[in-house]
């Protein structure tokens, strides 16, 4: 057990060390000034009468990548979806507390969710390009904003695709279907599509879990290059991925089993709601720099989880 534990820690330290050499140092993360982009204050979230999230307090720093990790069903996706009000899509849900985007409460009734979603973009677990051409996928968002100038749209398409490191692969087939691309390319298309409306924050809900290792690597590489311009919050099941890509990590857990899943096929199919079987709520156990969480966690529960001794 003990050797297993230290072995695990060594793996994470190695992952972190590799980061140091490449992106971290180059980007000068350590020297960047700290500013909070999204501030979650005493936020609780309910499905009907059952509480899925309990008193969440967390500050997501601007222009950093924050990873949310934790066991299945602890409310990671739920938390992520409250940040752009995608949580509204499930009927009979309720948010208590505040979520401040640049100091503005985005849970306030007067706030237009459409505005929130334009500022806080989202990338999903499964690539979901529209059954339209690559070009039309990318201009969908800008057109919603009333942009119709052909030259301007062309420029957005090129800029977004370059930003998502997809331009060279698709520049000659912009008018073929987005569904004809490979899974990894589709996911980068979805990232480009989110970037096309120039959001300030990009939420990623396990963006690489449906992809092979090479496609995953490309997404992770892409995230590093996006950090300069966006605040990125990523939910991931893969702890090594969290250690590789993120600057900050939040560890979430729950008290009893709350089997709640957005990604389950049944929830997608019946369209009614996510499956909630227990009323125990997810909480943030620990939040800190990724290095600190993975090398010197303060909470026993965090340590148990990242070393695989959980449960």
């Amino acid at each position: 057990m003990a050797t297993d534990h230290s072995e695990r820690l060594r793996v994470f330290t190695r992952a972190l060390a590799n980061r140091e050499e490449s992106s971290d140092a180059a980007a000068g993360v350590a020297g960047k000034p700290h500013q909070t982009k999204i501030q979650v204050r005493d936020m609780s979230f309910y499905y009907g009468t059952s509480r899925a999230l309990e008193s969440i307090n967390i500050d997501f720093p601007e222009h950093y990548i924050t990873a949310i990790i934790g066991p299945s069903g602890c409310g990671k996706s739920t938390l992520l979806r409250t940040l752009n009000r995608m949580s509204d899509l499930v009927p009979h849900t309720r948010i208590e507390g505040q979520i401040l985007l640049d100091g503005e409460d985005l849970t306030a009734p007067s706030v237009d969710v459409v505005d929130v979603r334009r500022r806080v973009g989202m990338v999903f677990q499964r690539p979901n390009p529209f059954p339209k051409s690559i070009y039309d996928n990318l201009v969908f968002g800008p057109r919603l904003l009333g942009m119709n100038d052909r030259a301007a749209l062309d420029a957005i398409v090129e800029r977004s695709l370059r930003g998502a490191a997809l331009w060279d692969e698709v520049k000659d087939k912009l008018h073929t279907s987005g569904l004809a691309l490979s899974g990894g390319q589709q996911q980068r298309l979805c990232i480009a599509r989110a970037m096309a409306i120039e959001p300030e924050v990009i939420l990623m809900d396990e963006p690489a879990s449906a992809l092979d290792p090479i496609a995953t690597f490309k997404i992770e590489e892409l995230m590093q290059s996006l950090r300069e311009r966006y605040t990125i919050i990523i939910v991931t099941h893969n702890m090594q991925q969290a250690a590789r890509v993120s600057d900050y990590t939040a560890f979430m857990s729950w008290q009893a089993v709350a089997a709640l899943s957005y990604n389950a096929p049944s929830a997608e199919r019946d369209g009614s709601s996510a499956n909630v079987t227990k009323s125990q709520a997810g909480r943030i156990i620990e939040f800190g720099s990724t290095r600190q969480i993975f090398t010197t966690p303060k909470e026993k529960e965090t340590e148990d989880y990242i070393t695989g001794r959980f449960g």
Partner: protein
């Protein structure tokens, strides 16, 4: 090879099982043939009876009086097209928009009510729709009309188009809708610009199945469109339709009108069958579109 290494393949028990299997297989085969037989019989009979008098004139000429050879059902073809067209104009917007609502809100009271209601509506005999249209359109207007016929057919069509469209919209992956909403698209734009194009084949299928169903309705036409031996393009006047023409010709005591009834039936069946086959092809394509992903 020839050694009977499996003891089960030798005894009386094995022979009995083999025999029972053969009997059952034969029975299912016969039942299957019986199920297809009426279709083949009807089509071949109609082709044999009606095909003899099929000519270009049949599609371009007006009906001739009893005993006068030649003539056609051009007015009924035009009339059917008009009445079905009117039905589409009324039924399509209602059923398509309702289908979006039912798909997006399946468990709301209204969603449940609409789905239950359309199921009941689909089961009501078409002659009742005819009487209904007679009561609410023909009586107040005091005359039969193409419009009242279209109205009756629209009521018959609505549940078919609605339910088929709903099934097709359900095939569209849910995360497509989320993708559009996450880009800040309002719900109506998501439906119109993402879901509808994604399900277009299926929606067209639903409309075609609806048309195929109502194009053959004779009973409601008796109370509404009424029939007309001349060309008419006025939606406010009585109008001839194919199924009603078959009815009139078939119940007449004249041999040459009976022949025309068969030929008219052939034209109608060919049209409906064609639509059904086309709808099948499109549905298969729609299901295929998402299965690979």
């Amino acid at each position: 090879m020839t050694t009977g290494s499996f003891p089960q393949t030798r005894g009386a028990n094995y022979r009995r099982r083999k025999f029972v299997n053969g009997v059952m297989l034969t029975l299912t085969g016969v039942a299957t043939l019986l199920a297809v037989f009426p279709l083949v019989w009807i089509i071949s009979y109609v082709v044999l009876e009606g095909g003899r008098f099929l000519s270009l004139d049949f599609f371009t000429q007006l009906p001739t009086p009893v005993g006068v050879p030649g003539g056609g059902v051009a007015n009924a073809i035009l009339g059917s097209a008009m009445v079905v067209g009117i039905a589409c104009v009324i039924a399509m917007p209602i059923s398509l928009v309702a289908a979006f609502y039912v798909t997006d809100h399946p468990n709301t009271p209204l969603g449940v009510a609409v789905r239950f209601g359309t199921d009941v509506l689909a089961g009501i005999p078409s002659i009742v729709m005819g009487i209904f249209a007679y009561t609410v359109v023909v009586l107040p207007q005091r005359h039969f009309s193409a419009f009242s016929g279209g109205f009756a057919l629209a009521i018959i069509m609505t549940p078919i188009v609605l339910r088929t469209t709903e099934e097709m919209l359900k095939l569209v992956p849910r995360n497509l809708r989320e993708g559009a909403l996450a880009l800040g698209a309002p719900e109506w734009k998501t439906s119109l610009q993402v879901l509808l194009p994604a399900a277009l084949n299926g929606v067209v299928t639903g409309v075609m199945l609806g048309i195929a169903r109502v194009a053959g309705e004779a009973a409601p036409m008796i109370f509404t469109a009424f029939g007309n031996p001349f060309f008419s393009t006025d939606p406010n006047q009585p109008i001839a339709t194919l199924p009603h023409t078959i009815y009139v010709y078939a119940i007449s005591p004249y041999k040459d009108w009976h022949d025309k009834a068969w030929t008219t039936a052939l034209v109608l069946i060919a049209f409906v069958l064609g639509l059904n086959v086309l709808a099948r092809v499109l549905t298969a394509r729609q299901a295929h579109q998402w299965s690979g992903n």
